[in-house]
Subunit: 407 residues, 2 copies
């Protein structure tokens, strides 16, 4: 007996794990594209979330944070709109987020505290709440275990593609799935109110354990595609653990919990890399890998500075093996780099050896810079620690998109 | 009786002050454009300099720092080449800078310790020292009190225009002049080994007093066109005080010294603004003014974050009054901004009033964004302190220039 196609779970995304359905519809905030997504758990799920650290926090961030605290870390649904960030909208905007949660809670017959709300889009414009509320019943009607792709589509803004990821875990206690979706395209400079990610799993963890695992996983994924560790007015990464697989974890230190955290980290790294690759105007994913640092923190600091350098990003765009810009960025990172000990590889081509020795084939280096994935490796020769950061190249497309974003 | 035209001092630049001559010639480091500049004082001048804080320090920076220390703060000449930064060139590069100083010292018959050396251009390539040394006698032969414009030309790289400035001071002790020149075009992102500035004056100050005044003046000028306070492998701002005017200052706290410092600051602000305006690909000078901060440091931090935001810079480029990006940047600055108290003006148009009230004419805002100078004013309403930072818009031209700089 085959399941009906409409009910077949997709292999990836937010309904890859059992016990979740999703939908993505058009409610009219955006002119034509889908702009309203739902993720709904069959029963109350353990929930955890990481929010922006920006002092300017959008209304949906405040609403979701408050609900998560009031529910004791349980959630039944996430509602996301694109096209309007509902940020810098004051008390009126706060009311809009509240009314959205209330309306969805009524439709699903669940407590309002179990609703998470997220928005993405332009800052400082009133969100047309009537359209959103009118669209909610339709979105609920479209909820389906196969709805992940529609939801992944409806949360996009300037993204050029959907971003979904999945990990399947086989454990002594049984098999389970971790799947998720993200949106984000201005991630080179994450001050754009754009990064959202949602993950579901059919494993079960107590909310505090889930929160701790999420915080560490975000630190190794989404916090490594930012230039400066900053987040924006609407950033939010949330995970819902429903438990439909029957796999339950209780202890923070068990190997089971570690395997879950590894899977969660894997999903978030996949999504974060996808966001970096789809950076506005980007033509290449750049991986910056720093080794030989005294501490992981120092490795991260150097990697972030190099990855954040517009001169490095434009050089990669132009396939120019300009290692001088790489070492100059490392030198201003704040880490006590010893420049004469630094080595730099572009892909497998060593463009700089310690002692400022540079003797390489320009053709080979250009080849290593010409694919759609570029690896920059910087060895500091100061210790055992390492870190990796992802970014994209800086192109005319970035300027074109952002010189005409709002209007 | 008129002075011969060739000897007439220009109204601005490094030979506006009496007692200095300058030259700019082509020695062959660059293909065609002038690439070798000299500034020479008639007698030993008090000298002070501020150098890059990058861990990667170019050979001329090391040479100049060492000479300035060895001479006890006296200098007779500055030699500058463009086209090659002599950075990341190891011991060989260090030898090149030393030989340059030695050769000029011999030609001028002065101690080597009284020579400052500066370079700008590509990083990590051996400087063709023979061409530089062969060009030096010609540069010396061209030295002239009217040589400032030639020198200002010879230090440029991707700059589209020369940058010169002057202040004249009338004091109870007599009149004197402070004049200078600068180069720099990648100043939006000052990790490009590009910023050099040289100032001369016919006043006299003891070297320690001159150094203190210079440090404060740089802090209020060149350190306010940087995104993050970072400097690069070759950055250098130097001032030579020759004393030909007869005006001498001895005490750090006297009104005379304050007037000198104000004039020096004025010259450096003019030069810094000129560098920001000529930022690579730039079409507009952007002044970011933060008022109502608790401390000047906090005002500066907010101003730098806003000025460094690529999303703000691209919005200004597109004449888009996207105040959401401005407040989002302020929110991630690290300062405890209270977003609901923030007001934002673009030129004279208030685009955001406290309490997230935004009601303005898009046409007026677009007009305020459409000139070649744009003022963004951010009021925090948290205290009495203020700060100003200068930057430029981010355009496709920036990408075009930097995706093909080295090759």
């Amino acid at each position: 007996m085959k399941a009906a196609p409409a009910l077949r779970r997709p292999v990836t995304g937010v309904t890859a794990a059992a016990g979740f359905s999703a939908a993505g519809v058009h409610c009219g905030i955006r002119r034509k594209r889908p702009d309203l997504a739902l993720i709904v758990a069959d029963r109350p799920a353990a929930a955890a979330a990481v929010f922006t650290r920006n002092r300017v926090q959008a209304a949906p961030v405040l609403e979701s944070r408050e609900n998560l605290a009031a529910s004791g870390g349980l959630a039944r649904a996430v509602v996301v709109n694109s096209g309007n960030a509902n940020a810098c909208t004051g008390e009126a905007g706060r009311g809009v987020a509240r009314r959205t949660a209330e309306a969805l809670a009524r439709l699903l017959d669940v407590p309002r505290e179990q609703i998470l709300v997220a928005s993405t889009g332009v800052i400082g414009q009133p969100l047309p709440v009537d359209r959103l509320l009118e669209g909610l019943p339709s979105a609920v009607a479209h909820l389906s275990p196969s709805g992940a792709p529609d939801a992944a589509q409806a949360i996009l803004t300037t993204d050029t593609c959907t971003k979904e990821a999945v990990r399947r875990v086989s454990s002594p206690r049984g098999d389970y799935t971790v799947g998720g979706m993200a949106k984000g395209s201005g991630m080179i400079h994450p001050d754009m109110a754009t990064t959202l990610a949602f993950v579901t799993t059919d494993a079960w963890l107590p909310p505090p354990l889930l929160q701790a695992a999420l915080a560490r996983a975000v630190d190794r994924s989404f916090n490594r595609i930012t230039v400066d560790g900053d987040t924006s007015t609407n950033d939010m990464v949330a995970v819902l653990a429903g438990g439909a697989s029957g796999v339950r974890m209780e202890a923070a230190d068990g190997p089971e919990a570690q395997a879950f955290e590894a899977a969660l980290t894997g999903v978030l790294v996949d999504l974060a890399r996808a966001v970096a690759r789809d950076g506005e105007g980007a033509s290449k994913l750049i991986t910056v890998e720093v080794t030989g640092a005294a501490t992981e923190q120092e490795a991260l600091q150097v990697a972030r500075t190099v990855a954040g350098s517009p001169l490095v990003k434009t050089a990669v765009h132009g396939a120019d093996a300009n290692w001088g810009r790489i070492i100059a960025a490392a030198g201003r990172s704040g880490v006590e780099v010893q420049p004469e000990r630094v080595a730099v590889h572009i892909g497998r081509v060593q463009v700089l050896a310690p002692g400022y020795v540079s003797d390489f084939s320009e053709d080979e280096a250009r080849d290593a810079l010409s694919g759609d994935e570029v690896l920059l490796s910087i060895s500091l020769d100061q210790g055992p620690a390492r870190a990796t950061v992802w970014t994209c190249d800086l192109t005319r497309g970035y300027v074109d998109i952002n010189a005409s974003y709002r209007t």
